[in-house]
């Protein structure tokens, strides 16, 4: 029993016929082949699958694609606009990644933070990342990367 959905992803409207049980992360990865959004724990803990839904950070393994029908999704692939997003540059400049698996989720969560709080303190950055895990334990440089981006976005 399939259902039709119309979901805007990174500015493009996609219409697909899907099973209602399909999770949003599988819709992105397997229907749209946007594999920048990763599946880590698949239990709403690690945050690797974080995307934006109507501008707010969401763990896309915890929502069905049908719930996003009519809504707008931004994934890591939608962050660069001709050139890298300041957060992407920040992670590059400050060595904010080792294996890189958690990076798309980290960037999407950080983008949500910076949208509401353009000049966060180190503590606020660390608090905002409570739902994103890094197994390389690169948190220190991740925080520096976000600070780098915040600075660039303000200048």
């Amino acid at each position: 029993m399939k259902t039709n959905v119309k979901i805007t992803v990174n500015g493009t409207v996609y219409e697909r016929e899907i099973e209602p049980r399909m999770l949003l992360v599988y819709f992105l990865r397997e229907e749209l082949h946007l594999t920048g959004t990763h599946i880590g724990c698949d239990t709403s803990s690690c945050g690797a699958c974080t995307v934006h839904l109507d501008g707010k950070a969401l763990k896309s393994c915890s929502m069905l694609a049908v719930q996003a029908n009519g809504m707008s999704v931004t994934t890591i692939e939608g962050m660069a606009n001709g050139e890298m997003h300041p957060l992407q540059k920040g992670f590059h400049e400050e060595h904010g990644l080792q294996c890189g698996f958690c990076t798309p989720g980290m960037i999407m969560t950080a983008a949500d933070l910076l949208a509401s709080n353009p000049n966060p303190t180190e503590h606020e950055i660390r608090e905002s990342l409570e739902g994103n895990l890094c197994r390389c334990t690169g948190y220190h440089n991740i925080v520096k990367s976000i600070q780098h981006a915040a600075k660039e976005m303000q200048s």
Partner: protein, 283 residues
Amino acid sequence: MIPSQIAYQKPESLEEALNCVGDLGDMCKILAGGHSLIPVMKLRLADPENLVDITGIPGLKEISDAGDSISIGACATHADIANSRPIHSAAPMVSKAASMIGDIQVRNFGTIGGSIAHADPSADWPAVLLAADASINMQSRSGSRSVKASEFFLGLFMTALQTGEIITSIDIPKSAANANSNYEKFAQPASRFALVGCAVAADNSGDALADVRVAFNGVSATPFRDGGVESALTGSGLNDESISAACGVAADGVDVMSDHFASSAYRKSMAAVFAKRALKGLS
């Protein structure tokens, strides 16, 4: 992990939704943010044939001032609640608990109605709603009813919500006690669920404490008001001695949970510690 096959409906009015859940009965689950339900469906601990998504119903997300109470729509997200000024002035423990649930991503989409319908004993809402003396408003196609939080949480994942009913809103009374309230929790570091959560509210406007309410989640399979702590504090002043003495009886006589995170003896001593911290936050 992939849930079992389901059919999905998203009614556009409350009447349509009530007819849907009335017709489907036990064959459906109500879906709001899905942040409790989808994970258990992925684990196949829940296996509904139908989902009725109530987030398309107008008004169900609203937080409004109803005069002698604040009404929180069932589909208000934890983030909506954490950011609401009227809630912060009427009952600071409600805002604080909302801001401590899960993580940013979960708070952005998880809803209060969904969380309390799921009734995880380690979730943050039960203690807060018990201490706030909140009412839960429910509707079915045969009518509406309102029950106190104390009659709503019945046990491990068990509530007073009947088949065919939808939670529509939660009322937080405006009272001197709720205006002077606090919530503290000992969070399990990975899940952020409460190993112990304690919500307290007390009217300290007179000579002595009155209308004292102390409630716990995470401690036993059913969240509860702690009558021992409440009566020890009632009529006394709010100071280190009275708080220490009262917290000495925290969770006495309660069947305290034990799991691989915390033994029952440890949980019980943490109940006293977190009750003390919560009470010290009152003015």
